[in-house]
């Protein structure tokens, strides 16, 4: 909802940059290639975000050791020095170590694919935690986005074809309302109205990602339980993004309908279904992919609130936990994962766009 129809600016053909430093000819050709440049840019962006967040989260007041020392002193009534020693043996983390040496240490491991160990639960690798939590978020957010994207594109096309009719006005009011209200507010409304007042489902039983009494595996009760537990988050992701897709697809389709090639297609006597699919639909849906790419980061970030609300154990609730524990390595790991997701989806959208739309195909890319 924060990210709106601003794709006019988002979809910009990459600007021609000055020629790469004069190495070998082959290197120059690779450097000029749109794809290679996009990939290099992506890697640099990811590195910059890691560096930025690395220092930022270490500037947060309170560190995991302080949090734990406080806990020990209150719980076991021991002196600060004793608590400090216990904490030091407990955590593989020295709060007094130089931040820069920590940074180079971290980057060195990261290059080898090692995200380090969780600070507050020693012995747990961050990679394992992410592997444990991420699939649930990818599943719920992915399913929600898929449903709302398809629905939104269909409804948006319907609105554009019947523009300024009663149906169009009603649907556009509906989509304005959907996109105006924050997704967690929809979540709270759904919880209170359908869960608490009407009691259509049991709020308590739907916590977590699946029923813990079942065996995880490829069996029907487990799959049903997974779908049941994901229902509310998915519903909220659908409701929260549907309006944006509808409005943008409507506007995009209306402007496509005015294009000359659509008129020419009509004049040639093509069937209206062929015009709809091959001429209008294909071109109108293009900007939607860029919008989708922008939304992925936004929704992954927003999953913190949704997963906390529904007690759904995905990457968002893991991030919330690690922020409140000041578990630097875990936080860093989640930031990395979300950043990669954003960058990769942007790159994919760019590449897809240049494949599908010959107009933005960049000159250097032959």
């Amino acid at each position: 909802m924060a990210v709106r129809d601003l794709n006019a600016g988002a979809v910009q053909p990459a600007e021609p940059t000055r020629s790469a430093p004069s190495f070998l000819d082959g290197v120059r050709r690779v450097a000029r290639s749109y794809t290679a440049r996009t990939l290099v840019q992506a890697v640099i962006t990811i590195w910059a975000v890691i560096t930025f967040t690395f220092f930022l989260i270490r500037l947060m007041p309170g560190n995991p050791v302080d949090v734990y020392i406080d806990f020990l002193m209150n719980q076991q009534n021991i002196s600060f020095e004793e608590a400090r020693q216990m904490a030091a043996s407990q955590f593989r983390f020295d709060p007094d170590a130089n931040v820069f040496s920590q940074y180079f240490d971290y980057m060195g491991r990261l290059v080898q694919g090692d995200l380090g160990e969780s600070i507050t639960s020693t012995g747990t690798r961050v990679v394992d935690q992410i592997i444990r939590f991420l699939p649930w978020t990818v599943f719920s957010v992915g399913l929600g986005l898929l449903i709302s994207f398809v629905l939104g594109v269909l409804l948006g096309t319907v609105m554009a074809y019947n523009r300024n009719s009663v149906l169009d006005n009603a649907l556009s009011l509906f989509s304005s309302i959907l996109s105006a209200v924050p997704n967690y507010i929809w979540g709270l409304l759904i919880l209170i109205v359908f869960g608490v007042q009407l009691q259509w489902f049991s709020v308590g039983a739907l916590r977590g990602t699946y029923d813990p009494t079942l065996d995880p595996g490829f069996n029907l009760p487990f799959i049903l339980s997974v779908l049941e537990h994901a229902f509310l988050p998915v519903l909220v992701y659908v409701v929260g993004t549907l309006g944006t897709w509808m409005l943008n697809m409507r506007n995009s389709t209306i402007s496509t309908l005015g294009e000359d090639y659509v008129n020419v297609a009509r004049a040639r006597g093509l069937t209206s279904s062929r015009i709809l699919v091959a001429y209008v639909g294909r071109n109108a849906a293009l900007p939607m992919f860029t919008l989708l790419a922008i939304h992925i980061g936004f929704i992954l970030g927003g999953s913190v609130i949704i997963e906390e609300l529904f007690v759904y154990k995905g990457i968002g609730s893991f991030l919330f936990w690690s922020i409140s524990q000041r578990d630097y390595t875990s936080m860093q790991g989640v930031f990395l994962v979300i950043t990669i997701a954003v960058v990769v989806s942007n790159v994919l959208a760019d590449l897809l766009y240049s494949r599908l739309d010959p107009r933005v195909r960049v000159t250097g890319d032959k």
Binding site: L6, M60, I185, G297, I305, N346
Partner: protein, 414 residues
């Protein structure tokens, strides 16, 4: 091109002072007539403006803890209880002159009788709360004749008299009746987990939230327009640098970053929060403004202005900006709704300090104290949820009216 043409075109754009003040208003109301949906949004925006400016003056914030009316349903109120025989005699507190009125500590009673006690109208008998046994104790006193009337909350009446599960106690209290059902005003939205009036919290809890959102939206739009225009008009390395920064900020997960920054910056005032939100949310609009300016710069009338050597300020302020105005204003409105999303989300998670009791804080307490999950007390969450949702909807519908106002077709009608 003759010089005369230029003068005429400038004169057409220079209305008299009175016209230039009235014209936007005339255009705006004409736009409202054309768009019923925008009109609804306009009504909503006016309603919220009144709510946050005048509302707090009329309905003061209720901060008094009252133990007998915790999480009461909407419409509950303070009532007057007497013996059934006296129901017709003691309708109001004034009727009780010379008698003894019972109140229970930590309830609304002591406040209601204080002026009468000071004036010596009647004697007051105060019962201690004693872990909830104060109210039935005072009711026993009423049955025994020690007091002549008792100020109770409607929920206590329901619990001890109309729906008492303890048969012996129900029999004991059967001789009591409510003589005044409406001694106090009704709690329109019920009461919260501390027995305070939720309605007063709704009236008072929006001001800081909305001011912060508007401020954040304004700052964000200002940064976006400034940097976007700068990037497009200067070009070169400034353009590339600003675009790169915008793309970088867009890549960092926005909301988690805000959560980290909120912990980093000790957020003790709303202006700082607004600034923080603005600093994270300008890039999307900035890129769009940049694209708009780039395309406007190529238009014939801008090129004509450049050819006429009208100067950069004139070109920016008179040729380019007016043509982006509707886009900028509409995006300002969207920036406000987006800032609302961010700040309420932050408070909802408990990641922003809770100095002021806003709608967001109500959601936070609703979640952490579990009132969200009980049908009776859900109002503590439902009321701010509806308040926030309607605010967002009003803003977005209002944007329609603004869009209509800037529609060039309207200008020709005058």
């Amino acid at each position: 091109m003759a010089v005369g043409t230029q003068e005429i075109s400038l004169q057409q754009r220079e209305p008299t002072a009175r016209e230039s003040l009235l014209r936007p208003l005339v255009l705006f109301f004409r736009a409202l007539r054309r768009t019923p949906i925008g009109f609804i949004g306009f009504i909503g925006v006016v309603f919220y403006a009144l709510l946050i400016s005048v509302g707090p003056l009329i309905v003061p914030f209720d901060s008094e803890v009252r133990l007998d009316q915790i999480a009461a349903p909407p419409g509950s109120r303070v009532q007057l209880l007497t013996r059934a025989a006296d129901v017709d005699r003691y309708r109001t507190l004034d009727d009780l002159a010379g008698q003894t009125v019972g109140v229970v500590r930590e309830t609304a009673g002591p406040d209601l009788v204080a002026p009468y006690e000071a004036a010596g109208t009647f004697a007051v008998d105060e019962t201690r709360w004693r872990s909830g046994r104060g109210v039935p104790q005072a009711m026993e006193d009423l049955v025994d004749g020690e007091i002549d009337a008792l100020i109770v909350f409607s929920e206590s009446v329901r619990r001890y008299i109309t729906e008492n599960r303890d048969a012996a106690q129900a029999a004991q209290f059967s001789g009591l009746a409510v003589s005044n059902e409406a001694l106090g005003p009704p709690y329109i939205f019920g009461t919260d987990t501390q027995g305070r009036d939720i309605f007063s919290h709704i009236v008072n809890g929006g001001t800081i939230l909305i001011v912060t959102a508007v401020l954040a939206g304004f700052l964000s739009t200002l940064i976006a327009v400034g940097l976007g225009a700068l990037a497009a008009l200067t070009g070169g390395f400034i353009d590339r640098g600003l675009t790169a920064i915008a793309n970088f900020v867009l890549t960092i997960p926005q909301f988690p970053l805000l959560v980290v920054l909120a912990a980093l910056v000790q957020l003790n005032n709303f202006m700082l929060l607004a600034l923080l939100i603005a600093l994270l949310s300008w890039p999307v609009l900035m890129r769009a403004i940049r694209a708009q300016v780039l395309s406007l710069r190529e238009r014939d009338y801008v090129e004509a202005a450049i050819a006429l050597n009208l100067g950069r300020p004139h070109i920016i302020l008179r040729e380019i900006l007016p043509n982006m105005m509707s886009f900028v204003v509409i995006n300002f409105i969207f920036a406000v709704t987006s800032a609302m999303y961010q700040q309420v989300g932050l408070v909802f998670l408990g990641m922003a300090p809770i100095n002021d009791y806003t709608w967001g804080v109500m959601l936070y307490f609703g979640r952490t104290r579990g009132t969200l999950f009980s049908a009776d007390s859900a109002m503590m969450v439902l009321a701010p949820v509806v308040a926030i949702a309607l605010f967002q909807v009003s803003m977005v519908l209002f944007a329609r009216a603004v869009e209509e106002m800037f529609d060039p077709r309207l200008r020709t009608v005058s």
